[in-house]
Amino acid sequence: MSLLLWQGGKGCNFYKLVEHYQGIEINMGNRKTKTERGWALQGENSDIILEMKNITKVFPGVVANDRVNLEVRRGEIHGLLGENGAGKTTLMSILYGLYRPDEGEIIFDGEKRVFSSPKDAIESGIGMVHQHFMLVNKMSALNNILLGYKTPGDPLLDYEWAREKIRSIIEVYGIDAELDERVINMSVGEEQRVEILKSLFRDVKLLILDEPTSVLTPIESERLFQALKRMSEKGLTVLFITHKLREALEVTDRITVLRKGRNVGTLITKRTDEKELARLMVGREIDMKIEKKRVEAGKDVLKLENVYARNDRGLMALKGISLSVREGEILGIAGVSGNGQKELEEVIIGLRPVEKGKILFNGEDITFSSVRKRTRLGISCIPENRIETGLAPSLTIEENLILRDYESFSRNGFMEFDMIEAHAEKLVEEYGIKTPSTKAPARTLSGGNIQRLIIARELSRNPLFLIASQPTRGLDIAGIDYVRRKLISLAEEGKAILLISEDLEEIVQISDRIAVIFEGEIRGIFDRENVDIDRIGLLMSGGADN
């Protein structure tokens, strides 16, 4: 019933409908909807595996979840959408036993539950892969999977049994990982697969994935979706958080949208579209039609000449990179991650030694200059790995906002706390960082707001040159829109920008030139006027250019 209303009401007063819709859902009770489920993928016998009722969670100064109701059916892929800071991670953390709700109840698998720890949740059949991974870096994938698990024959670890079990999981779902590789040597995609294996190994019934695709390449995402669909076929339920509407529409059966901590509607994926979802999430329309004006590119700001550098494992990761970024231009680096992007970023900001070759900044040789010197020259960087590199999570938002320029916020060696506070207030406002206080530790920010913090810091430095590595990863649509526009306006002011992104669409949308990186080499550079997506795709995967 409610669905019909929903459909019919698309053009009418939207908010009234949302309220209406919600009202009806609550009045209906949960079981009654059964009759309407002819269309559902699972057919008539599908039932409800999870019900979260009236969940409220208050953090100092923020209501992260405000009387949220969520209902998930067995075997479905349920999407969870919402702006940065809408409360998605919090809601899932409550379900996973990380936080206690202030109010509300959880009914899982037909029983009322209070999960007081992830261990509880896992034992009851709920697994979660976090936005930021939680593996032990120095251990192998296998040991990470086994950590805390009792194999038959406990206290001895039965590795053979475990390998066998993992192998069968890999076979069924197609989620592959090198079991004997240490996590520290893994790409993020691989790390994520280990996390998923870890949950599946524990025979979970419900798997929560918090923004799994924000760190994946399109191909990896596609693989993940295949796996998710297989899971759903096998009766596993998946709760899937994402900011990418297209993905949500592609892979889910139903979608719940959170806004400002509230559930503003649960929709059937087949009967909704991107526009509607966007409006529900943000409350206004975002066109995302961005166009970069062609600025006459000026002189070279950053120039790399035949640069070689090794990765953490000591292998050559950059093999003779030559490129230049000019005033007023955005140079996009397209490529599948793990092909030298991280090393390129680090070599330019000075964190990684150059083996051979030269780096010039405005004509000055900075190949061996310190990070500090380069920062002062006007090089900014939005690093790929925000939590590990870009942030000191235990320090306050204020302190993190001056991380790279703390010396200019001091006089005669003494910190100017008033100035620091004013600076933070201004940036929090300007970049829409959602927080109750600038003195809260940065780790209390939501994933997307951490990203905003870093972007705010790097852009507000007024740099001459900016490396933006996956700058819109983890941002909601409004945030993506904002950042892309901001990058463009920076370039139009005459700044030089190196955009490293796995999102080919993003690169094509805002770059003036596009360089394709593969196995540490630049395989081709294209002007925007004559981009050939197919050819870029081919080069990205190592195909020859001819």
Partner: protein, 354 residues
């Protein structure tokens, strides 16, 4: 009933105050039980301690005299601790300071400028001694806990060798002492007690270090390194420089403590210049969570124990080593208490859902 241990994501603020307090109280109770077992009424013993420390002018000034070096070693541990380093070597740095100061006092320098010169050399010696583990850590990632700890033995035995051998005094019979310093090399004393000028300097230093680490950009850099070394590198802060400089700063302060002890108290170099003040700095820094103002408070607690400990020795014949026991217990409880910042214990009386 079942006991449940749960991980917490949010740590309530009061825990950070509760843990040190509870650690102190638990240690007091434990030591009380020990005292009881050897036939001493713990209440009597503790009240004797309190009385000795606060009851007389002598007691109060002694409290300050014993607290001052602990403040300094507490600082020597705290500063590197803020950068995430464990300086277990304040004791050795103190001994090297004591040695350098004594060397100047006994053999070099014209009388009128001898005091400042002693201070400078003691500070330099402490710095030098602390720079060894600092550099090894910065350059080769050598674990500073081990290197600082081992260097303590080197320093302590070095001083012992000197006072039994080359620096042994002419008029000290068979004691492991050097000769007494000349009057110029002795810190001024006040109130007709052992309260010497060094005590005042210790307090001033604590405040100065507080300002340094909370108000200056250097202190901010140290904080970032302590919070996330990788982010510090990215912020252009050289982690190596911070490692070496915090160690050296800690060493300088411990070195000064050594000078203060020989020049303010013993008036000569001797074996056992310090009854373990360098090690006492560790629980002090832990209790204070690296904050110099809290270091002063925590140092008073241990100063009280040292004063009371010697009172107990004279009154009940209990060895001063009881102070070491207390100290060790506090460290254990604090480290154990750290568990409670991350986990929550609850008692489940009946299973909520089977």
């Amino acid at each position: 009933m079942r006991i449940k241990v749960e991980r917490r994501l949010e740590t309530p603020k009061f825990i950070y105050i509760l843990i040190p307090l509870a650690s102190i109280i638990a240690s007091l109770i434990f030591v009380g039980i020990l005292l009881f077992l050897i036939g001493v009424n713990p209440i009597d013993a503790y009240s004797t301690m309190i009385y000795r420390a606060f009851g007389t002018k002598f007691g109060v000034t002694e409290l300050f005299v014993k607290t001052a070096p602990i403040i300094l070693t507490g600082l020597a541990v705290s500063i590197p601790l803020r950068a995430g380093l464990w300086n277990i070597g304040a004791e050795g740095q103190l001994y090297m300071g004591a040695f350098a100061a004594s060397f100047i006092a006994l053999y070099l320098s014209p009388p009128p400028v001898v005091l400042p010169f002693m201070v400078i050399m003691a500070v330099l010696a402490g710095m030098m001694w602390a720079s060894i583990p600092g550099v090894l850590k910065a350059k080769f990632e050598l674990n500073e806990i081990i290197s600082t700890l081992l260097l303590n033995y080197v320093a302590i035995y070095w001083v012992e060798y000197l006072v039994y051998g080359p620096m042994k005094g002419k008029e000290v019979y068979n004691f492991p002492y050097s000769d007494l310093f000349s009057d110029y090399a002795i810190l001024p004393r006040f109130f007709g007690t052992r309260f010497h000028a060094g005590v005042i300097v210790a307090f001033i230093l604590a405040i100065a270090i507080y300002i340094l680490i909370t108000r200056t950009s250097y202190g901010f850099a140290v904080k970032i390194v302590g919070a996330n070394p990788k982010a510090a590198e990215y912020a252009g802060i050289s982690r190596k420089k911070i490692i070496i400089s915090t160690m050296i700063l800690g060493g300088a302060i411990a070195g000064f403590a050594g000078m203060m002890e020989v020049s303010g108290l013993h008036m000569r170099l001797r074996a056992a210049v310090s009854p373990g003040y360098g090690y006492t700095g560790i629980p002090v820094a832990l209790l204070a969570r690296g904050n110099p103002l809290f270091v002063i408070m925590a140092a008073f607690l241990f100063g009280l124990l040292y004063v009371g400990g010697s009172a107990m020795q004279t009154t009940y014949g209990i060895p001063v080593a009881v102070v070491d026991v207390f100290q060790a217990l506090v460290v254990l409880f604090i480290i154990g208490g750290d568990f409670f910042t991350r986990y929550r214990i609850s008692f489940v009386f009946r299973e909520a859902s089977a």
